[in-house]
């Protein structure tokens, strides 16, 4: 997801203008000039100005300096797709969306499936996506959710939904 400064700058302008516009339409507090509209207005205008400056490349040389510094020390760490030297297929970049995707899956599924199955799916997929063999991923997918569940429901008393897999013999609801 490396975008040019022009694109991100224009996005900032759009966001700033929208925020300022949205803010200005908020109802004022009766009998007062200053209300909930002022702050978004100020922030939105500031953001739009910054966006304009970014789109014109103001301050870009600072980034190059910082990158040169970092490149010096991280020379040995293999860089990922996007800024790596070797081209990789476009779908490799989509792998980055696995963790947030799994979190959304958790939101949707945890009440229906229960914590243990949902968590097991999450751990299994993350682990396999990072290149683990099934010999590691499967035991981890069984063990880690159980451990987390025990810690959170027993020690911290956070109720986690049991769903399809209640384990009364472990003291889990």
């Amino acid at each position: 997801m490396q975008l040019s400064d022009r694109v991100t700058g224009l996005f900032m302008i759009a966001l700033g203008v929208l925020a300022a516009y949205g803010g200005s339409r908020l109802p004022p507090v009766p009998g007062q000039q200053i209300g909930p509209n002022v702050f978004p207005l100020v922030v939105g205008i500031g953001l739009a100005i910054c966006g304009g400056m970014i789109a014109f490349g103001v301050g870009h040389h600072y980034e190059q300096e910082a990158e040169a510094d970092l490149a010096k020390i991280s020379g040995q760490i293999a860089t990922g797709t996007g800024d790596g030297d070797e081209p990789s297929p476009w779908w490799r970049g989509l792998k980055a969306l696995v963790p947030p995707g799994l979190l959304l899956f958790y939101v949707v599924a945890v009440d229906r499936l229960g914590f243990l199955p949902t968590a097991a799916v999450m751990v299994l997929i993350t682990s396999v996506a990072l290149g683990a063999r099934l010999r590691l991923a499967v035991p981890l997918a069984i063990g880690a959710p159980l451990f987390v569940n025990l810690v959170f429901s027993k020690l911290l008393r956070v109720p986690l939904p049991s769903g399809l897999l209640p384990l009364p013999w472990l003291g889990l609801p």
């Binding site: 966001l15 507090v29 509209n37 947030p100 396999v128 990072l130």
Partner: protein, 495 residues
Amino acid sequence: MSTVIDAFSLVLQTDVLVAILLASIYGLVVGSLPGLSATMATALLVPVTFYLSPIAAVATIIAASAMAIFSGDIPGALLRIPGTPASAAYTDEAYAMTRKGQPELALGICVWFSALGGIAGTISLMALAPPLAEMALNFSTYEYFWLAFLGLMCATMVARSSPVKAIASMLIGLLVSCVGIENPGGTPRFTFGSTDLLGGIEPIPALVGVFAVSEVMRAMLTSEPPKLPYRRFGSILAGQWALTKEYLLPQMRGNIVGIIIGVLPGAGADMAAWVSYSMSKRFSKEPEKFGTGHPEGLIEAGASNNASLASGWVPSLLFGIPGDTITAIAIGVLYMKGLNPGPTLFSERASSMYALYIIFILANIIMIPLGIIMIRAAALVLRAPRAAVMPVIVLLCAVGAFATGNNLFAVATVAAFGVIGFVMERNGYPVAAMVLGIVMGTMVEQAFVTSLIKSDGSILPFFSRPVAAVLAAMTIAALLWPLGVWTWTWLRRVA
């Protein structure tokens, strides 16, 4: 005197001591794993702190963050991969020492001077906080507004990126804090009809997303770091006392620079290490030795990043303005535990403050034995495959965010901020500045709007009080700084 005794009795509780020990071990392990930063360690600790006593909660954060900052040096020295960003500045130097066959010396410097730096930072906290609190008691909303504004500007000035992008990130953070019903009018603002957004976007899930989820996302795209070969270490602390005497001046300079950077809002341990390392090189009598495994820079920067950690608590405790990303999280915990930041904290809850100092000192002392154990166990810990660690992190993000409010919307927030943090980082927008905006947004708005209402919409009173005027001048200078630099380079290009 009785407050000091009270403080000791607060710290010497079993739950506090156990919390310090466990948090230390946790911090050491997380900090040493490349890709897991000290901030992330702290963010994942928050749900646990909910269920601890106030002092134990603060103790876990102090201990875990101090240990993680030191322990990030271990893979830096042994593998040339910094465990946390705060170690990045001197990783090359430490690794060069390992290649010269002195890994014990390099790691010994890291642990010994980290601990000394941490203690120096604590002393600065003890010395600076009470007089500043005295002064802050006279502050009105105008001063608070400028102070918060100045804090936000500092965060953008010291970011290792384009200052314009940093300001944009900070403004995005402020915009995020606008969401919800908690505004001067009490009207739903930017909630788009969603009831979940009425309460606003909580800083903790946002922080977890930005610092933990986006880190896992990055791991998806990079290859696994190399494994650490097993090796036997000699004595870790041998020769450290001689080095302390030999490099007393660089060490002191590191401590002081670290303290100053820590006090500056938003600038934390990583910044302190970069500045101290380059300063050490500039003022050294033998700058040509830097980069070849010379201890001087390592001592100065290693002391500096740990010193900044303690002094980062000064603005956090006094004004609720985070000194770095770690204290940004800590402030949330302080509010939750009824230790609301503010100058009165030092008069009304004096024993809690003393307890905090004691915990800092204690954490930095036990850093030495625990750190040595960690160094010896490093080969074992660093053998943990990333494919086993990262899934657990994802799981903890989900459950931890859920635990902060017992609602699933927080988990969705974590996912969203993971993506936002990832995209911003990739495009050179510093996420720390955004985080600061989110944490301080409500406070900035409150001070701003209250001041405007008091002054009846006039700008003049913002500058008429003496302290406010000084703070205003500093803020405006910080604001115009990128513009000035840009004009300067443009003029030079034209000439």
